[in-house]
């Protein structure tokens, strides 16, 4: 189906099903129970899963396939956001023109930045992209203030032209009249499910983005990108010029980042320069590595993992820790609270840093490789007895491709 073989089709269908069912799957604990704080089924977070999933999928096309480590992808995210908000300011709150412009703008910037940066490889490429991203960030804060509104961040004001906005038209972001903030909240078995337009909008785009990346992975073009990662010198000796391929990968991943930035602005009509700081570029590298660079599902997993734990860990404070350890003897409880206090709340970044180091040191293939290793152990044990684990092993071995 759709130019995929049977295995890939099944894999894509599973991903589609998971995406569509996310509001249900992420709400496993009843409202009001002690575990309700681990629920993640609210729109804002789910939108972030999808958006940063797209960002990471795009980054993976560059880093995972060609091995070029860009430290400046956040610049494209920022450009996408600015472009989208400008479309709101000029036309109206329909997100579609904004997203199109976001992809085009970030694509153009990616052509320029990529053309220059890709003349070097290895660490020089990383530093060049970093330099470009820092330049964009600094310019957005200083000289480009008329375009970016500087530190305040770009937003829509009532004096903006908005030429397509009719009397009584929508004053929030929408797609052809369907507002992003709209939600349907049925309560089933004590669980409150939220089906949000914005999430499904991002989710469907994410599925499309995932499908595209799958096609790229399986195409001759994807194979060429992998060849560049494996041994570029040898590729050059065969008479092939690698640069058009790397540039194409760079532009595609830049456009993905721009799309993600546009979607961020589609969910919340704001754009700020802080989206372009180089630590944000580091964050997407982190997501990709954590999930598994060079795998299809890895980046999405990594993005979801980081955004989920960011949300959960930042919410936990000392009070909640006291609740958890209240059953223990006081000295022990205090020691544990003191210890865990480093890692939760504002200390979430510490956990993230440690996790990141641990993944790079022990599990360079990321979560996908980890999952495969565990499944491998599991399967070896089961070979003599009956071995029918259903869809799961198939899914992750596919994902590892």
């Amino acid at each position: 189906m759709l130019g995929l073989n049977k295995k890939d089709t099944r894999f894509l269908l599973i991903v589609i099903a998971l995406t569509l069912l996310t509001p249900i799957l992420l709400q496993p604990f009843p409202e009001g129970s002690a575990l309700a704080q681990f629920n993640a089924g609210y729109p804002d977070l789910m939108q972030r899963f999808a958006i940063f999933g797209i960002f990471a999928i795009g980054f993976n096309i560059l880093f995972g396939l060609t091995g070029y480590l860009s430290f400046g992808h956040a610049a494209f995210l920022g450009i996408g956001s600015y472009a989208t908000v400008w479309m709101y300011k000029l036309l109206n709150f329909n997100v579609l023109p904004g997203l199109v412009l976001a992809v085009i703008c970030s694509g153009l910037f990616a052509v320029v930045i990529g053309y220059i940066s890709l003349r070097r490889s290895g660490i020089y490429f990383s530093i060049l992209t970093l330099a470009f991203a820092e330049m964009s960030y600094r310019l957005a804060y200083s000289v480009l203030t008329p375009l970016t509104n500087g530190e305040t961040g770009l937003q829509v004001y009532s004096i903006d032209p908005q030429i397509l906005l009719r009397e009584g038209g929508h004053t929030a972001t929408h797609i052809f009249g369907l507002e992003m903030a709209l939600s349907w909240q049925p309560e089933v078995f004590g669980r409150l499910y939220t089906f949000n337009v914005g999430y499904y909008f991002c989710g469907i785009i994410a599925i499309a983005a995932f499908y595209l990346s799958m096609r790229i992975f399986r195409s001759p073009f994807g194979l060429m990108l992998r060849a560049i990662k494996t041994n570029q010198t040898r590729l050059n000796y065969t008479g092939l010029n690698a640069r058009p391929y790397t540039l194409a990968a760079f532009v595609i991943s830049g456009m993905y980042a721009g799309l993600a930035g546009g979607l961020l602005a589609a969910m919340d009509p704001l754009a700020g320069a802080e989206r372009m700081v180089w630590t944000e570029s580091g964050a997407v590298v982190l997501m990709t590595i954590l999930g598994g660079a060079g795998t299809l599902l890895g980046p999405v997993l990594g993005a979801g993992f980081i955004k989920y734990f960011e949300n959960i860990f930042s919410k936990i404070n000392e009070g909640i820790l006291h609740d958890w350890f209240s059953g223990l003897p006081e000295g022990l409880a205090n020691a544990l609270i003191w210890f865990f206090d480093h890692f939760v709340g504002a200390g979430w970044h510490l956990t993230l840093g440690l996790l990141f180091m641990a993944v790079v040191i022990f599990l360079p293939g990321g979560l996908v490789e980890g999952g495969q290793k565990i499944l491998g152990l599991f399967r070896r044990r089961n070979t003599e007895t009956s071995d029918d684990d259903g869809k799961k092993p198939g899914k992750s071995s596919q994902a590892a491709e």
Partner: protein, 343 residues
């Protein structure tokens, strides 16, 4: 003329910091072949050594002074630092006043220890892995160090004042025959520049004139051959990592009075220092130092109003712009050796 001179002076202190950090980065890259993204964090930890020492010296106990009353008529509690009671009030106050320079002594063993621990515990396992992996793991380490500092010292900058003696400014113009008040330069920045020159000179002398330094230089040129000669080059390289940590740490200690230390100052300096290293030439020590000062001075020229009027925003991006031009036209950097990391 005076404006140009003033900008050169202004660029010197920032340039000194860039040069010191870039020197450490280059030492690590040249000896161990590791790209250390955590080097900025070492600079930051150094600055917080000064903060810690200042806090330690200010540890106080309270005494009730019966002769003074507060506004409610109760006896006033006076805080008096332990140092003052141990060394007498005058010596004690002087020690507290000089806490930043004293922190140098305090920081050296700490930075050495951190450097050794980093190299033996983490970096050692990454010699054989790709540069991308090295960047990533040290980036993670930088986040960890920065967050630990943030947890214990908070997110706000902490003032670390210079000793009373160095507060105020030197009227530099008068010394060389300009009118007074034209070229004013704070004393502490002068101290910082001289300190940086001293440290840089020390490192170069160490590498140039000691047997140890000779072995290290030989190892930088050809590690394998030195190893074949029966010299334990790894141990010396570990020491060099510690030394690079100390250089970055001391740069941070002394920078406190110029910029109040905060937890992300390391990250801010790191990006620029990397650019400096690349401009100077990966693996070239004189290149790193020269590029550090050069970029520092160029940056301060770019922030002149006359220049900004022609190229708006140039002060923000000049360093990156130069780096891009250098990388594209002369990839090995200003003083890089031919063939080293020219890809």
């Amino acid at each position: 003329m005076d404006a140009i001179l003033l900008q050169i002076l202004n660029g010197l202190d920032k340039g000194s910091a860039y040069a010191l950090i870039a020197l450490g980065l280059t030492l690590i890259f040249g000896t161990l072949g590791v790209v250390n993204f955590a080097h900025g964090a070492l600079f930051m930890v150094g600055a917080f050594c000064a903060v810690s020492l200042q806090k330690l010296l200010n540890l106080s106990f309270e005494v009730i002074d019966p002769t003074k009353k507060d506004f409610l008529g109760n006896p006033l509690k006076v805080k008096s630092p332990y140092v003052e009671s141990w060394f007498g009030p005058e010596t004690g106050a002087a020690i507290i006043d000089w806490s930043v320079p004293l922190a140098i002594i305090f920081a050296i063993p700490i930075m050495l220890l951190i450097g050794f621990a980093m190299e033996r515990g983490l970096i050692k396992h990454f010699y054989k892995r790709a540069h991308a992996d090295q960047i990533l793991v040290t980036f993670g380490l930088a986040i960890v160090m920065q967050e630990i500092i943030k947890h214990y010292y908070g997110a706000n900058p902490i003032q670390t004042p210079a000793p009373e003696m160095f507060k105020g400014s030197l009227d530099f113009g008068v010394l060389i025959g300009f009118d007074p008040n034209l070229i004013i330069y704070p004393y502490w920045r002068l101290v910082y520049f001289l300190f940086a020159v001293f440290i840089i000179g020390g490192v170069f002398a160490f590498l140039q004139f000691t047997t140890f330094g000779m072995v290290v230089r030989a190892g930088m040129a050809d590690r394998e051959t030195v190893g074949l000669l029966g010299i334990d080059i790894d141990r010396r390289f570990t020491l060099m990592f510690g030394l690079a940590g100390v250089v970055a740490g001391l740069a941070g200690v002394m920078y406190g009075p110029i910029l109040a230390p905060n937890y992300h100052m390391g990250m801010d300096f790191l990006v620029l220092s990397f650019v400096v290293v690349v401009v100077g030439g990966m693996g070239s020590l004189p290149g790193a130092v020269a590029a550090g000062f050069l970029l520092g001075i160029l940056q301060s020229f770019a922030s002149m109003n006359e220049v900004k009027a022609i190229f708006p925003g140039i002060d923000q991006i000049i360093i990156y712009l130069i780096a891009i031009v250098v990388l594209l036209t002369r990839p090995r950097g200003l003083m890089g050796r031919k063939g080293v990391m020219e890809e």
